[in-house]
């Protein structure tokens, strides 16, 4: 076959095909290589060409003598004629088919390399901005963490110093450790008499800025082995307690204890002295009541 398949089919339909062309078309149809759709398209194209005048004299003869041999093809011819006539009557404007028919496919068609490049650049910029924001956020978090760490270190150092100081002053000996005399001297002192309960408890003022308060207690009688001092709130809640050997008492039988001022909120307190018995148990020996006010 020397010509294109379309032209061969066209001549075959018009009865103008050579013997060779006829054989090739017949063989293709019987082998299932030419389907009904191909035949329909070839017929429609031929009808259009005939109606539009784009057909040779020889083809025109073949069309009228051979092609229009069937009623089906004649109907097709009438229909195409009506369609052409109708289309020519319609105004030219607004017959664009691009947008409507290719709206979905066109979306991707429009994603050419240029569009892809634009998207890539936009994505890069967006990523850079996001990365910058994240970096700034991370830097701020680092600064906050550093400040927190510094504050923690400072607080830990202060607490350690306080603890050392407190350990020195609360040491279970009534003596004041050397080197802490100044601070201890500035402490508010609660002088506890031997007498026990008064109707009106004595008032002791503890400055608001005080960190510690010293309680001096003159015990009325000597203690044998050991004793225990207990600080109770007005409601009877145990706030503090410590056991001491009797040997640590001063010769004047005076006990000095230092407590954190923070536990001495304004109110009534009981300082109780428990004496050790022979069985190793403690029993109440004295109870002194006082009131704390904060300035």
């Amino acid at each position: 076959m020397n010509s294109s398949p379309d032209k061969t089919y066209r001549r075959f339909l018009l009865g103008l095909a050579s013997e060779e062309e006829q054989c090739s078309v017949e063989a293709a149809v019987l082998a299932g290589e030419l389907d009904t759709l191909t035949l329909q398209i070839a017929e429609d194209e031929l009808i259009d060409d005939y109606l539009l005048g784009s057909i040779t004299r020889e083809e025109r003869c073949g069309f009228e003598e051979q092609f229009l041999i069937t009623e089906e093809r004649r109907q097709k011819l009438r229909f195409a004629s009506a369609l052409i006539e109708y289309s020519r009557k319609k105004p030219v404007e607004d017959l664009s088919v691009k947008r409507e028919l290719t709206s979905r496919a066109g979306t991707w068609v429009l994603l050419s390399w240029k569009s892809t490049a634009y998207i890539a650049v936009a994505a890069s910029v967006l990523l850079a901005v996001l990365a910058g924001l994240e970096l700034t956020k991370l830097r701020q978090q680092t600064e906050v963490a550093q400040e927190t760490r510094n504050e923690l270190t400072r607080l830990q150092a202060g607490l350690a110093a306080d603890n050392r100081r407190a350990a020195q002053v609360i040491e279970p000996s009534t003596g004041i450790p050397s080197g802490t005399e100044d601070s201890v001297d500035r402490m508010p002192v609660i002088e506890v008499a031997t007498a026990t309960r008064d109707v009106v408890p004595p008032r002791f003022s503890v400055p608001a800025t005080a960190r510690f308060a010293r309680i001096d207690w003159n015990l009325s009688e000597p203690l044998a082995e050991s004793y225990r001092e207990v600080l109770l709130s007005g409601s009877g809640k145990k706030l503090w307690a410590q056991e001491f050997p009797a040997a640590t008492l001063s010769p004047a039988n005076r006990s000095s204890i230092v407590l954190p001022a923070s536990i001495l909120v304004p109110g009534i307190y009981h300082l109780r002295l428990d004496r050790e018995t022979t069985g190793g148990q403690f029993e109440e020996s004295a109870d002194y009541v006082f009131r704390v006010v904060r300035e």
Partner: protein, 195 residues
């Protein structure tokens, strides 16, 4: 086919067994019908059956020998059947010329039937989605040389090949043709569905 035995023997000639022979029979008949349609025969099925009957009678004769492709044998018989039919159609020059041979296309028609067809065509076109309606209108606007350029441009606008456009139009045309035929007979529009 004349008898069951003849049919079975013919199927065995077509295939290795009855089953494959039957499948081959259906395939050949389908393609023969299409071939006669390509030839422009309006009785394509009748001629296809005539071709098969003649082939069966020939191959089942005692002493028949044929070693080549069976389809080629059918093709030769089909051509004879077609030529006989064609001769029969055009047998005598004095016979009245059939209507098929004298009908010429009439473009600017003002007759009553065409008015009716135009009205049906308009109704069927309006039943199509807008984009497809525009496509049909654009496809049929140009003439002569403009047709080629116009359709090529249309295909480019759609982002498809010219052949894809032809296939799309072929389906649209078939749908519209059925719609118009139904409209002319019953006055109903059937092609409102999306295609």
């Amino acid at each position: 086919m004349e008898s069951r035995e003849v049919m079975q023997a013919f199927l065995l000639w077509l295939g290795q067994d009855q089953s494959s022979g039957a499948r081959k029979y259906e395939e050949i008949r389908r393609n023969l019908i299409l071939l006669f349609r390509w030839r422009g025969c309006y009785i394509a099925e009748e001629l296809a059956d005539e071709t098969i009957d003649r082939t069966a009678r020939a191959v089942l004769k005692p002493g028949f020998e044929y070693q080549g492709d069976r389809v080629l044998y059918f093709r030769a018989v089909a051509r004879n059947v077609f030529l006989e039919w064609l001769r029969k159609e055009r047998r005598l020059p004095t016979d009245p010329i059939s209507e098929a041979h004298i009908e010429l296309p009439v473009l600017p028609a003002n007759s009553e039937p065409d008015d009716s067809r135009q009205a049906c065509l308009e109704r069927c076109l309006n039943a199509l989605p807008l984009a497809k309606r525009k496509l049909v209108m654009r496809y049929y606007r140009s003439e002569k040389r403009e047709k080629i350029d116009g359709r090529q441009l249309l295909a480019e606008e759609l982002g498809i090949g010219l052949n894809a456009l032809r296939i799309q139009m072929c389906r649209l045309r078939t749908q519209l043709r059925k719609c118009v035929a139904n409209c002319e007979v019953k006055g109903e529009i059937l092609c409102s569905e999306e295609t």
